[in-house]
Amino acid sequence: MSVDITPLSAATDQLDVLESEAIHVMREVAGEFDRPVILFSGGKDSMLLVHLAHKAFWPAPIPFPVLHVDTGHNFDEVIAFRDAVVERYGLTLEVASVQDYIDDGRLSERADGTRNPLQTTPLLDAIADHRHDAVFGGGRRDEERARAKERIFSLRTAFGAWEPSRQRPELWNLYNGRHKPGEHVRVFPLSNWTELDVWRYIQREEIDLPTIYYAHTRDVFARDGMWLTSGPWGGPRDGEEVITKTVRYRTVGDGSCTGAVESAATTLDEVLAEVRESRLTERGATRADDRLSEAAMEDRKKEGYF
């Protein structure tokens, strides 16, 4: 333990406020639930959850396993990063594999090749199989309009469904985690963070991220106004021209529907500057799954999606 005596300044930075709030939420879950789990994709928001959990329980180890819903359409860098994080923090990794479901026929591939909507069933099965009663997600309310109405403790039915009309009022910082057998609670410690807060915090805390968040050269092709990378998920199709560009990713998801943005930002400072200047939300810029309809996220949440 270091011995520097650091009095907290009276005027607290908003990152300290957000960190304290997130740590408080995680400790409430540790105190009130039997079998919590952190959803971990290797993306920046889930990496933030692991980092915050590490700080919340130090010097004890993180008291939760992590669950990765693996679409089979991964970026190699992200899987390597996931395994390194699991190793570094001594975590238990649970994997729910969409590929397994496709291989044995429980799920079938969609015509458009996108596997994001297919994640819900393996996710809910994994929650049921491991009897998880609290499931941490990295969702933020600034991401999307349906998420803006999400609670920090969000009750899910035995079918994993989100019922907006049954949401509990959330008062002060008193979280109500009571649920019936079979139901579970999704917990969103980053609810009040914005994309910019996340990046500022990553910079302040020197948090490692997969390299695809930073600008690199990559073979890409254009589809639906986004730059998708070539890969086993079905692309490029005929007529989709592959070109080499300098790009980076703002979100990490299924390779079939996560677009890269043109960027020269190779360092955290440059990424931060870019986020400050951006005129597009991170989901609008890079997620085909949210463009399916006006209420795409609302519908997926009702089915039990992240």
Partner: protein
């Protein structure tokens, strides 16, 4: 470094609250291009201007009905300050959401339609803000364009609102009134030339400059223990720390504290925030306290300052805001969650119910129904170290929970924090 202001908005049906929030986001350039395109695609506005309310109505059923059902949280920032805005719906049946938004707000913006002035919902919302001790209020007199920017109309509404908030205990300088048109943008972010008689700040100017009332670090020290950190590792074989969020006041290394409800005394030996050792911590900080003695403390205990330790009680009076469709049944078994401790409880009597219009108290109502506010007598199965809500809000608040369904039934405030002078309706 920037600071953070948490605010709530409330208004009655059709007074343009979603449009006002949309305007704040739009004029502070917090609306990104893809969101605006989505609004322009969906916009049904007849006069060709984008319907800014569509920026904030999140659920499909809301867009279909053209109303806001649930609390939505919005984020915007200016170079000096970041804002978390709880946008709460106006319909009577959704007043529970106003309570929710108010519980974390440092400031509330209430809206009225300049053509209708202060209505019952305005009075109800102001009473809820006063009850929950939201420190500051703003009245946005909206649709000022529809009364031809008439000063006399504005002044009449402003005075009526001030009379009401004064009766609720607000001081003069805690309340600001502003004439705005959310649709046209007058005095929301940009100063209006059409209200030359108004020389106060725009809404955003006020939000950027108003002092932020943070958690009360001058209050007596309160620390509900969330979990015990005991690694038992080779590196830290004997480490034992009590993790929690400082709910009120501050604590320094060397302070003596009392562990409630049991009453043992000990001394704070160390304050850890991750790997840093701090000399002190104050309200709002998530920290780990190490104590001089091993007292077998577990989740649910509250560490408090020796000089101001509350006496744990099993019977007390509280103010409840009833939030659930299922009305209160005196004598039923319930749960009370106070801090990190959940105990069995029973409401033994409903003493009175607040008439939100006149602020008078109706005695012996027998029950409380959804949206009712009233005073009750509660008995709990284990002693709780309570503070009056108006002394220490963080340890004077609790939830009433249905033990079977798990639903949150009521927001509870210890004591009778709403001081009112009845007014003529």
């Amino acid at each position: 470094m920037t600071d953070l202001l948490r605010l709530a908005t409330a208004g009655s049906v059709d007074d343009g609250k979603s449009t006002l929030v949309g305007r704040l986001l739009y004029d502070t350039k917090s609306v990104l291009a893809d969101q605006l395109e989505a609004v322009e695609r969906a916009s049904k506005s007849a006069d060709g201007e984008p319907d800014l309310s569509l920026l904030v109505d999140g659920l499909r059923s809301e867009r279909e009905q053209g109303i806001t059902i649930d609390v939505a949280y919005r984020y915007f920032a200016t170079p000096t300050r970041s804002f978390v805005l709880a946008d709460t719906p106006g319909h009577v049946q959704y007043t529970r959401n106003t309570v929710t938004g108010a519980s974390t707000a440092q400031l509330a913006v209430l809206l009225v339609d300049a053509r209708h002035g202060v209505v019952e919902q305005t009075r109800r919302h102001a009473a809820v803000m006063a009850l929950l001790r939201v420190p500051r209020l703003v009245l946005a007199v909206n649709k000022i364009d529809l009364v031809d920017y008439d000063e006399a109309t504005y002044l009449t509404i402003a005075k009526e609102f001030r009379d009401h908030t004064t009766a609720l205990g607000y001081s003069e300088d805690a309340v600001v009134t502003i004439p705005v048109s959310a649709k046209k943008g007058d005095n929301v972010v940009l100063e209006s030339e059409r209200t030359p008689w108004y020389d106060g700040p725009t809404l955003l100017d006020h939000l950027e400059s108003v002092p932020v009332d943070g958690p009360d670090d001058t209050a007596p020290f309160r620390f509900p223990v969330q979990t015990v950190i005991r690694p038992r590792s080779a590196e830290y074989p004997d480490y034992r720390g009590y993790a929690g969020l400082v709910a009120a006041g501050s604590v320094s290394v060397g302070d003596s504290v009392v562990v409630l409800p049991d009453g043992q005394r000990t001394t704070v030996e160390g304050i850890d925030r991750y790997t840093s050792s701090l000399s002190s911590a104050s309200a709002g900080d998530s920290v780990v306290l190490r104590l001089a003695d091993d007292l077998g403390i577990a989740r649910g205990a509250v560490l408090v300052a020796t000089s101001s330790a509350p006496e744990p009680v099993t019977e007390f009076t509280a103010t409840l805001a009833w939030l659930h469709e299922k009305p209160l049944t005196p004598g039923r078994r319930l749960l009370v969650k106070h801090g990190t401790h959940t105990v069995q409880a029973m409401i033994t009597a409903v003493e009175d119910r607040l008439d939100i219009q006149t602020l008078a108290l109706d005695a012996d109502p027998g029950t409380l129904e959804i949206n009712d506010i009233g005073h009750v007598a509660i008995t709990v199965a284990e002693p709780l170290p309570l503070d009056d809500y108006d002394t220490v809000a963080a340890t004077g608040s609790f939830l009433v929970i249905d033990p079977q369904a798990g639903d949150t039934l009521a927001a509870g405030l210890v004591g009778r924090p709403l001081v009112t002078t009845p007014v003529d309706a």
